[in-house]
Amino acid sequence: MAKNNVIGKTEQRWDAIAKVKGQAKFTADFPINHKLHAKILRSTIAHGYVTAYDITEAEQMPGVVKIFLPEDLPQNKFGTAGHPWSMVPAKRDIEDRTLLTRHVRVYGDDIACVVAKTELEAIRALEKIKVTYEKYPVYLTPKAAMADNARRIHEERDNVIADTSVGYGDVAKELKAADYVIKEHFHTPMQQHVHMENQVAVAWQSEDQRWTCISSTQIPYICRRIIGQAVGIPWSQIRVQKPFIGGGFGNKQEVIIEPLVVALSMACGGRPVEMNLTREESIAYTRTRHAIDYDLAVGVNKDGSITAIDCNVYSNQGGYASHGHAIGGKGGTFINALYKTESLRYAAKTIYTNVATAGAMRGYGIPQVMFALESIMDDAAEKIGMDPIDFRIQNRRPEGFLNTLSHVQQFNFKIDKCLEKGREAFHWDEKLQDSLKYKTGSKRRGVGVAGFSYGSGTYPFGLETAGARLTLMPDASFKLMLGATEIGQGADTAFSQMAADTIGVGYDKIIRDAMSDTDIDPFDTGSYASRQTYITGFAVQEAAEKMKQKILKRASEMYDIRPEYMDIVDGNIVYSHNDQKIADLADFAMSSFYDMEHGRAIVAESSVNIHNNSYASGCTLAQVEVDIETGQIELLSVMNVHDSGKIINPILAEGQVDGGMAMGIAYGLSEGVRYNEAGKPLNNNLMDYKIPTTMDLPDLDHTFVESEDPLGPYGNKSLGENPLCSPAAAIRNAVKNATGVAINSNPLASQHVFEQLKQAHVI
């Protein structure tokens, strides 16, 4: 819990000035001598086998150092998902790829590689490589890949890589017993992260004959492990450094280019090799959000009670397993977190196809399931003539509910408070009333709402461990060292506030580092699952408490006062009963280094393994105007309300919410990677992949239902991914309210809306 008023205050992020002044170094900014450049030759088919390469002309191109075919590099199979390693073999991620491949599973697969003295020379040589393919049938959808006669995309396993079912009660019986049964199909698109900084990594053999890799990664320690596995060397022989990062959104919770870059450096005598993906490569050939299909049935009674939720899930994995079933399989828990129902069945399949490999993306499966769930719940409320907010509040899980699908007990779960606060702050009732004036003519208005729930970290499904180290400096500043990963979200600033608050000093007394380094920083699995302020927060808290106790113990020796009588407040050692100053912490700190009798430098460390999870929640309210002649949707106003416990730093929290809402709105309205029939991506550039501009977004209103979470280290729970979980469904519901047409596949781009309105005879 916060004690010293550093938590909960807007502090300027520590790296702000460096970024504004252009001092912040990103991976490509490090001056490295004699650097070579690598480019991947990408397949121009989506499924098949390379039967022959002709590199004779390419090898003669100026600047070429070497051209690599799949058999020229290590053949170890590895997985790319940024999960902690599992000691239980059955729980490990599927290892289904090699550094390069002749087996083509996706368009743009990595079939060869050129290393040259300059990037341009590498590109020119790539164009001279001739490839002969044997082509196989291309499967773009789970349905196609699951067909009886479909070819296996990976010989060693079925295209359905996982098939699970969870739930409770008798869904069939409860559906029969309901006054109404609503059955719908939903489809969600393949969103891409489009982090500002593309994937980039550079690796070389360092002085100690080990391998150093600087990479734009969310997960330095996991990156180290996967490089070791892919290249086939002990993990200790690799050092991963993570400098400033231009965003990741989960795509850098994947180890995509680092193993290849290390292997290429090894094959080039240890010379530094850099790979810098283009925007076109990053959108099409890295990872995406899973496109998921849902067949949902909900049983609802006239009194508003829910008898059954029956959900069949088909998660489109793309060509490689990556995070695999962890995403499609996750939804059941968070449906169960939100709604009281007599019965629940959540049956999920994850299926290989020949589209881009899907992996982690901000929200990790929840934006998909919430689009489907919150759409059908809205339709259920409408069916029985109930207000959609009242319906959700009536059916909320009670405080303290034990979620039997995850065995997490839901304390301090405030979805109802979010909905109530949103109704008032958004002026829901007035906007609903106002929309009645726009139900004829070409411009129709409506409002919609959707809720969500989200975990804080991965427990109990995943390991949640983190570490922190604090060193007292001679002027009573503290160096805070973490393996947790600042990727632009402001985590380091929040951690600094936590450490300052617990020790009893100002935020300006905590010094962070731009670089995370697996040789130096305490072990932490990295930035994902909205885990860091929660999980790493415990580690920071423990290290800070230890630091404080060490200081007070030493102060006890120095000042001859029992330690329990003392405290640290505002940078002074004081009597705890009346705050009377005993010593300036800076004087104490100097003594801790240089006093002949007491000088022993003070370091405190922690390593935690957290066995709890605090479920967060929230909702979006949206007001739209639909041009029914063109299908264009104008989002007139939108608001997110978040139940994320204590807000550590309001301005950083607002930044998270703004960005998440924009991504969530885009998920609802415009974004999706598109393919032709042969599986070739069509829109892998920033013109055709429709990220909204500021002109396309209204003011992103938001508010918090703030509380002290009883379990979170500083009363906090997750926030980073949460804001994009509910906008898409709220927009879909608002469009339905405006036009009477429920559109169950996003994004609601104008042509799609036009076609749906036409089919419904509104046009």
Binding site: E127, T630, M687, F754
Partner: protein, 291 residues
């Protein structure tokens, strides 16, 4: 990653002609918002090539009005300069509105109206408007000067009537082609900025004193391989009063005059639907802006 083998900064038209004579493959570059994009994409004629910078040529600068009221727009005028120019705002405001929809602020700050035309894209935001103003393109070469109506300049998708050694210097609009007209341009795109038109439409209208249509000019972008005027709709409209029936009929004729394409960016069915709606909306918007 650009693959540029040399760069010349031309200080006169004569210098351009000389360099191109020596190296007909050399590419002329003004703002670079098309040329450099194509170079980065390694389009065939844009790699391993020299560039000739033309942004300092005096004859290609500025927006002026001749004594007879003809407006003359230097090909090197940036979108931003066109948008903010007082003569444009007073006499041909629709052009200013159209070029204000190109890309984003950075593109509009360096991209030029001459480049927009010479790039030959049917989606160019300045093109439909210039078609409705019956713009004349003043093209210089070593052999002399020729004046080409813009409708004759566009030959096909990405193909304009411009040989190596020919330079578009100025764009001219006669007084009779703007005086008394009201206009509105619609860029139908998925985003409000930084986007390409799925369909675009410029509409100029002149009303007679009896509140019938004296003249109507409609030009679509992305409804054919080049920007395309709507002869049947324009002929029908003359003398008609503005009402639902007239507007619907104009839409029907537009459908007959256009030749839209089915593409993954927008279906033919959708484009054909929009073709019938947008001119009517433009007419009403143009008249409303006048009020």
């Amino acid at each position: 990653m650009y693959d540029i083998t040399g760069y010349h900064e031309a200080d006169s038209l004569a210098t351009i002609f000389k360099i191109i004579k020596a190296d007909p493959k050399a590419k002329v570059i003004a703002g670079g918002t098309d040329v450099l994009v194509k170079a980065r994409e390694r389009k065939q004629d844009f790699i391993a090539t020299q560039l000739i910078g033309i942004t300092r040529i005096p004859e290609m600068q500025g927006i002026t009005m001749a004594e007879d009221g003809t407006l003359s727009i230097g090909a090197l005028s940036t979108f931003k300069q066109v948008e903010k120019d007082p003569l444009v705002q007073q006499y041909i405001p629709m052009l200013g509105e159209a070029v204000a929809l190109v890309g984003g602020p950075q593109t509009r700050h360096v991209g030029t109206i001459g480049g927009n035309i010479c790039n030959g894209a049917t989606s160019a935001d300045s093109a439909p408007t210039l078609f409705t103003y019956n713009a004349i393109l003043e093209i210089h070469s070593e052999a002399g000067v020729k004046n080409v109506p813009i409708a004759d300049f566009y030959k096909g998708a990405g193909w304009v009537d411009l040989e190596p050694g020919e330079i578009l210097v100025r764009i001219k609009i006669a007084k009779a082609d703007y005086e008394g007209y009201l206009g509105h341009y619609t860029k139908f795109a998925q985003r409000k900025a930084l986007d390409i038109a799925n369909l675009s439409c410029a509409t100029l209208i002149k009303m007679a004193p009896d509140q019938t249509i004296a003249d109507l000019r409609i030009c679509f972008g992305v409804a054919a391989p080049t920007p395309i005027r709507m002869p049947q709709a324009e002929a029908f409209a003359k003398g008609q009063a503005i009402n639902d029936a007239t507007l619907k009929t104009i839409g029907k004729y537009c459908l007959a005059d256009t030749n839209t394409r089915n593409s993954w960016r927008a279906s033919k069915e959708y484009r054909d639907h929009l073709v019938q709606i947008i001119p009517a909306r433009n007419i009403l918007a143009a008249l409303k802006e006048d009020q």
